[in-house]
Symmetry: C2
Subunit: 139 residues, 2 copies
């Protein structure tokens, strides 16, 4: 099981953080790590969000994605109201443990973005231009 | 060309930010947006980093990945010393414009992580366990 509190990275040396088996998330000044969420089947990038210690703990314990909503300042069980529950197929952590990656299966209508799209990333920024434009294959 | 300064999202309404063609990055209190970088060929998640306005401007103008190093507090042209230049194949922005996604081709030895690996995400966190363990197929 997951401890209530994760150890501080400050209690570990660099080699342990980068190469060890101890999960010691490097929360930022706001107590958050970045979370990248991709579709486990297609590999598509769905969203970028944030997790505090409690949302990270719940995600690990339940196998469903819990985030921290920075705008609402609340724990956010993705899909609670929309039905778009994200079941974790695999969770990874990066070298310095300040970012996690969720590969998920999306329930409900399969959507993710509050605009109704499958992915929050539906616009490209062309090289050399300070604009964004719809992707040709927008879902 | 890209303006020296991006417009503030505060100058736009929600619909324009989410559905418009105006790039108006929502920099956080530290002046940063999150950047997710994936391999354009394999789709693999390589790294998560941050960009300030200047690194975002340079990335858009040059078609190569520029980040902001939070630890060194400097602009960071990825690959300048390692040769692992990241050429942007496609850049996307998310719904609320506080995250960008780079699909890149990596030059040099094809690596990305400072530990020598192709990706910074080389450890998984099993559901129900507060540990991390090497991915079976680590590069």
């Amino acid at each position: 099981m997951v401890d209530d509190l994760f150890p501080s990275p400050a209690s570990l040396d660099k080699a342990s953080i980068e190469e060890g088996t101890q999960l010691a998330p490097a929360f930022d000044a706001n107590g958050l790590v970045t979370c990248v969420t991709t579709d486990a089947d297609s590999g598509r990038l769905l969203m970028v969000a944030h997790m505090n210690a409690e949302s990270l703990r719940r995600t690990i314990e339940t196998g469903e994605a819990w985030y921290w909503s920075r705008s609402r300042k609340t724990l956010w069980h993705k899909g609670d109201t929309s039905g778009q529950i994200q079941t974790v197929v695999e969770m990874c952590v990066d070298c310095d443990q300040d970012a996690v990656w969720l590969r998920v299966k999306v329930a409900g209508d399969g959507g993710c973005c509050h605009t109704g799209r499958c992915s929050c990333f539906y616009r490209r920024v062309p090289v050399g231009k300070g604009i964004c434009e719809p992707l040709e294959k927008e879902d």
